[in-house]
């Protein structure tokens, strides 16, 4: 059945047969109205029913008063990427009521607060009023709390109308308010009243409903910022310096939440991880470079503007070989850009950040679970290679709640790299007739040995500097010494290629073309590959997880007639980096880049690739 016929016929009739666990709903509210609690309640209730679900918060750069949307997708097939059309809209915001209808798919539904004036409502959608004011007024709630609790009306109405069991909602409410009786009761009274009202007053005329299934076993619901921070704490993070910035703030705040639980001696109260809120990003990076230099596992987290401020210190850390981890939770840039919208637009900047010849190890998590893994792995990688490691997340991954496989405990011991304490240094000096230098490439892998402040061996100390230095750390301005040092650094970073997290490859029979992508575009691409295959275009998909790339990536490009590089930016930044890696095959790389602040959709990716294939 084509779209044409749906629109031409009566879509409401067309959709009479039930649509179960496969639709998308968006709640439209005002920022600062407390809707996050209600939206999370819906999301987690669906998750607890075993239905694969994803939630995306589209919010303004504002604390109170501007429109905000929250989209929940349920998908029995397990697709968790964004879709651009809504099957159900819950309209709570008078300012945007007129704008909601065009986003509703034919045959879709609108729930609306009955005090909102709606005119000229489309004939191909079903509208249900909700007596929000009346139900809130009747509820036993303090007047000051009424606005916040009003959102529980749509939770109750939706639960009743799409079939979320009320006991699941209640249990989720208990979970969400961590057993706080008063908060649970006042919210529940509104949910229950709204559900009862809907049962008594609304006739179900739409096909959308949910049913319990077994699609979330082994999964948790979490956001990438929390996951990254937890991963770092399990990676033995010892020092975090940070400065608030959307959308990275909640990453560092997770340290404050979890250090007492995870890194504090219950008897002495002593903590093995220090968290310092810096005066700005210049200081945040300075602190973590100092800490990393002195042998602490150190990291900071920021977003584009903060990363710009960190450029100079990262160059020093690269040249002076200081291990440090920087999380960049990307948002739309340049400049202040769209601070609350998602993007992957810092790749080229991060890869070559700072002046002079530099190159960094980049890790790119593609799921919340992987944020946890790269949380600890980045610390290992930084100390192993004695260099900054940048982890590139983004707002969508970092701030939205995702269903994701449960966090896995690190499967290998910490890699502290080539660090020498007193006895280690003594042994090395004995083996090498006293010859040791901070930047001496003893093993031929470009990675020198390092001592750190606090080592009391009389031969341990050296003076670290961003100025030219020789293998022994001494000031040096000779051209050949400079060039040798820089070539060793290139060798060191090149040596990381096969040791970094390997790409994830999904092959399909008969595929002649490929997709390369990285990060949070993953769910949309997985779905797009299914759409393309259904249209007779099988595609192999390689998800990059690290830069610089390994041989497998170069082979993937070589082995396909054409490789689409899918990313959320204007210029095709990953495509640019890959072109540099394999200039002889660069013409096979095609840009599929889009940057409007919203996560990519499978529909857009597949139609863009089809359009390019048709050329």
């Amino acid at each position: 059945m084509s779209e044409e016929t749906i629109v031409a016929g009566n879509p409401i009739e067309q959709k009479r047969c039930p649509i179960v666990n496969d639709f998308c709903m968006t709640v439209s509210t005002v920022n600062g109205s407390g809707s996050a609690t209600a939206n999370n309640l819906l999301l987690r209730s669906l998750f607890r029913m075993g239905i694969p679900v994803s939630g995306k918060n589209i919010f303004p750069s504002n604390i109170q008063g501007l429109p905000t949307w929250y989209t929940i997708r349920v998908s029995r097939k397990g697709y968790i990427g964004r879709v651009a059309k809504d099957d159900i809209v819950v309209a709570m915001n008078p300012a945007t009521i007129a704008k909601e209808a065009p986003f509703i798919s034919p045959g879709g539904v609108m729930f609306y607060a009955d005090d909102l004036r709606i005119s000229d409502l489309r004939e191909d959608i079903i509208a249900y009023p909700m007596p929000v004011k009346k139900l809130v007024k009747e509820a036993d709630v303090a007047p000051s709390m009424r606005d916040y609790i009003a959102n529980m009306v749509y939770v109750g109405v939706l639960a009743q109308m799409i079939g979320i069991p009320l006991d699941v909602v209640y249990q989720t409410l208990e979970f969400q308010f961590k057993g706080k009786k008063k908060a649970i009761d006042s919210n529940w009274s509104v949910v229950k009243a709204a559900a009862d009202w809907a049962a008594a007053n609304l006739e179900k005329r739409d096909p959308f409903r949910v049913e319990p299934m077994n699609g979330t076993e082994g999964y948790i619901m979490a956001d990438g910022n929390m996951a990254g921070a937890l991963g770092a704490l399990y990676g033995g993070l010892q020092f975090a310096g940070w400065y608030p910035i959307t959308p990275a703030t909640s990453l560092a705040e997770t340290f404050t939440d979890y250090v007492p639980l995870l890194r504090t001696d219950p008897e002495t109260g002593r903590q093995t991880c220090a968290v310092v809120q810096a005066e700005d990003e210049l200081a945040a990076i300075g602190m973590v470079v100092g800490a990393g230099w002195a042998g602490l596992r150190a990291m900071t987290s920021t977003s584009g503007p903060g990363l710009s401020l960190m450029a100079e210190y990262l160059g020093l850390a690269y040249y002076a070989e200081v291990p440090v981890v920087v999380w960049d939770v990307q948002r739309v840039g340049p400049s202040t850009g769209l601070p609350t919208r998602t993007a992957q637009c810092d790749y080229t900047f991060a890869y070559f950040i700072s002046h002079g010849d530099t190159q960094y190890i980049i890790l790119i998590p593609g799921s919340v679970n992987e944020c946890f893994e790269f949380g600890w792995r980045a610390l290992d990688t930084a100390e192993h290679f004695q260099t900054p490691v940048l982890v590139m997340s983004d707002l969508d991954l970092g701030m939205n709640q995702w269903m994701t496989p449960a966090f896995q405990y690190p499967d290998q011991p910490m890699d502290r790299g080539k660090i020498l304490w007193e006895d280690d240094l003594e042994k090395l000096l004995a083996e090498r007739n006293g010859d040791w230098g901070r930047y001496l490439d003893i093993d031929g892998d470009g990675i020198p040995y390092r001592t750190v402040a606090g080592n009391r061996h009389p031969r341990s100390a050296y003076f670290t500097r961003g100025t030219g230095h020789d293998e022994y750390g001494r000031y040096n301005e000779e051209g050949d010494v400079w060039e040798q040092g820089m070539n060793r650094l290139a060798k060191k970073i090149n040596g990381s290629r096969e040791l970094l997290p390997k790409p994830v490859l999904k092959k399909r029979d008969g595929a002649k073309i490929g997709i390369i992508s990285a990060g949070s575009t993953d769910p949309a691409i997985i779905e797009a590959c299914d759409l393309l295959e259904a249209d007779g275009i099988p595609v192999d998909y390689l998800r990059l997880r690290a830069l610089p790339v390994c041989q497998q990536v170069l082979d993937f490009i070589k082995d396909h007639d054409c490789v689409y590089v899918v990313e959320m930016n204007r210029d095709g930044q990953l495509q640019q980096i890959l072109s540099l890696e394999t200039p002889e095959h660069a013409t096979r790389l095609k840009k599929v880049a889009h940057m409007d602040g919203f996560p990519l959709t499978a529909q857009w990716i597949s139609s863009e690739i089809k359009a390019q294939e048709a050329k």
Binding site: Q238, G241, T264, A291, A453, P458, F463
Partner: protein
């Protein structure tokens, strides 16, 4: 006799002065910064500090090159312009038993570094913070710094139209717990102040007027040797008595001296000169600095000290073992705890 001589040549740590030396200076002959480096060597030697116990930090500029010219056996990190404070803060968390010394200049601290300087001071991180202050950018060959006095004339810059930043005043406003000023041409006072600064449990700011012999040494300007020698007004004659010494202060007559006991039990003895100045009175410190501006005097000595303020480390409950020596078992939470977290996210 030989034994006796050798014994005299080492301090209580069993080290000779040579153990505290640095690489030969590449600064100009006669630069005030070289004299300061010598006094850092002397102070650490006399305090019996083991060099491996010290960590040196600096920013960018002539002053910031100088940490290589003392304590070669100490770790050091020459960071970025104006951003040594953040570097030192992160590093000193690794092992709080280490003594940090940061060497900055007026260009490094009073311009790009003003923010980080004041935040370091505000946090009261235990370290010695020296500003080798010559009122001029030397490494770029003679531009005005923010501490240059109004009316100063430099060869290619003309006349400075702006009032100077006073490092000591800025430190006081940021609630510094130890503020002193000295003059590179007064080695005795400088050494005693350095020793006191090393014993202070908090940020110890020393603004040291250190003449630039190449670009800024006109006889009548504040940052020159001649001006310093002629206009230096020491607040007190200062002596530092280490905590372990049970010798009482015999040199000072009763009634003309004042003692300040530092956190570790050591004592600074301030011998009254021509004014009865109390360095624990912050209001008096502000007044003193204001007055010296009016009188175009170079007030030197201990301007303000409060040994009782908790340091930044007191706000963190760190383990007794240095953080950077903790093994994996102390750093990685248990498998069980992760299972509980996973459960809490369903």
């Amino acid at each position: 006799m030989t034994d006796q001589n050798q014994r005299q040549q080492v301090n209580a740590a069993g080290l000779s002065r040579a153990d505290y030396r640095g690489a030969p200076s590449t600064l100009c002959q006669g630069c005030g910064h070289n004299g300061i480096a010598s006094q850092i060597v002397a102070a650490c030697y006399e305090l019996d500090i083991v060099p491996e116990q010290v960590v040196k930090f600096s920013g960018i500029g002539c002053s910031s090159k100088s940490p290589t010219y003392f304590l070669s056996r100490s770790f050091g990190f020459n960071g970025l312009h104006g951003r040594m404070p953040s570097l030192a803060l992160g590093a000193l968390f690794a092992d709080t038993s280490l003594k940090g010394i940061g060497v900055s200049g007026d260009g490094d601290t009073a311009s790009i570094g003003m923010g980080q300087f004041k935040h370091l001071v505000r946090r009261n991180l235990p370290m010695v913070y020296l500003v080798e202050n010559n009122g001029v950018y030397g490494l770029t060959k003679g531009q005005f710094s923010a501490t240059a006095e109004r009316g100063l004339e430099l060869k290619r810059q003309g006349i400075n139209p702006f009032l100077p930043v006073d490092i000591c005043l800025e430190a006081l406003v940021a609630n510094a717990t130890f503020v002193a000023r000295s003059f590179a041409g007064d080695p005795k006072q400088l050494k005693e102040l350095l020793k006191a600064a090393f014993s202070h449990n908090g940020i110890a700011v020393l603004d040291i007027i250190s003449p630039c012999v190449t670009f800024h040494n006109k006889e009548n300007t504040l940052h020159s040797y001649t001006y310093g020698k002629e206009h230096e007004e020491p607040l007190h004659e200062i002596a530092y008595v280490p905590a372990r010494d049970d010798i009482t202060v015999e040199d000072f007559e009763e009634g003309s001296s004042r003692e300040v006991t530092l956190h570790d039990g050591s004592i600074i003895v301030l011998k009254k000169l021509n004014q009865d100045y109390d360095p624990t009175n912050k209001a008096a410190a502000y007044a003193l600095l204001e007055e010296s501006h009016r009188n175009q005097e170079l007030i030197t000595g201990l301007i303000y000290v409060d040994p009782a303020v908790p340091s930044m480390f007191d706000a963190y409950h760190l383990p007794e073992t240095a953080l950077n020596r903790l093994p994996e078992k102390d750093l990685r939470p248990t498998r069980q705890s992760l299972e509980e977290i996973n459960q809490s996210l369903i």
